[in-house]
Symmetry: C2
Subunit: 201 residues, 2 copies
């Protein structure tokens, strides 16, 4: 499969972390999606936002547009997403994001995604086979020791080799187990929606 | 005047930086106000938000509520605000914020506030004498060499001595001339309103 080759991963590599805001069960409408543009694991360089439909299927397209239209696009090297479903079951096609942005994608999860449980839940939604196919296309789930030697996070990757992806996850996990671009995108998205951010790992 | 005494300013001192989002000229309504809770000049610990009325007079009260209702309140040591007017001419009373939160306030500006120009503009607003009185009560404008030895920022202070305030400004200006809590609050507020953040110093 096609991949971006990293000759050298710089400590100030530009990474955008994407996470969604909270919403109430049975709510309809749009949910805030935030992109936190980071230099490595240390400096916030910019903030992007878009909206995605609850249980809709526009997350992939909205993320592609948000990245491609950003003035940071030229500097960005990697896109990180918090898992591969946003706003309920609005599934993200990480292969498609890679194809349309030419930037490798790393989906990071705190817990190992439980595919059989997800499949069961998906079946309540229209168009579930297409969503399931997208989820499956995110590929193999890898365990990464991001920061401590005890605890792990999980990643799925598109357009990047496993060793390079691991190195980017480790390099950017400066503050917690979760890479800083994702930790901060989460704080911003929950803070803006709720008035006060909710804790992360 | 009453002041908070700092025996020792720790490098991880919790500071919240408050800045407003952009709005179009002649717009009416509310403007987003963001609080970025930082540990010193390095780590974002949380995000707060509220709304203030364009050219209204609720900014002081909204900031007091946002801080006092936050779960971070117990850890916070200093409030920084980006200048003393938000959402147009919604003037902030930094003495009142200090009184109602018991936290010292530092108002930081990139440029020296031009009081005669501000006074002229204020006169177009209802209730201008009250706003002018609040602006004047922010007190003396001090020049601070925050980071480089060449360029300066300006501060006005409430509930804190000049040497302590200078130290907090210097300690938190890790990335640019502007203290990190204010730089990041600005990036978040503009990013969320516009879809992409606008540059700071």
């Amino acid at each position: 499969m096609e991949q971006v080759k990293f000759w050298d991963i710089k400590s100030e590599i530009r990474v955008v972390g994407v996470d969604d805001g909270p919403f109430e069960p049975r709510m309809k409408g749009d949910v805030l999606l935030v992109g936190a543009v980071f230099r490595g694991g240390h400096w916030l360089d910019g903030v992007l936002r878009t909206y995605v439909t609850i249980d809709g299927s526009d997350a992939t397209q909205r993320i592609i547009e948000m990245i491609n239209e950003s003035k940071h696009k030229g500097q960005l090297r990697v896109i990180m997403v918090d898992g591969i479903t946003f706003a309920g079951f609005n599934v993200v096609d990480i292969q498609e994001i890679f194809k349309q942005t030419s930037l490798p994608v790393i989906a990071v999860s705190r817990k190992r995604p439980r595919m059989t449980q997800v499949k069961k839940a998906l079946k309540n939604l229209p168009d579930w086979q297409r969503r399931w196919k997208m989820l499956r296309s995110a590929g193999k789930i890898y365990k990464v020791k991001s920061r401590s030697c005890v605890k792990s996070v999980y990643m799925q990757i598109a357009g990047i080799g496993r060793p390079d992806a691991e190195q980017v996850v480790k390099l950017t996990s400066t503050r917690s187990l979760i890479p800083e671009p994702l930790r901060v995108a989460h704080l911003i998205a929950t803070g803006i929606v709720r008035g006060e951010s909710a804790g992360t790992v």
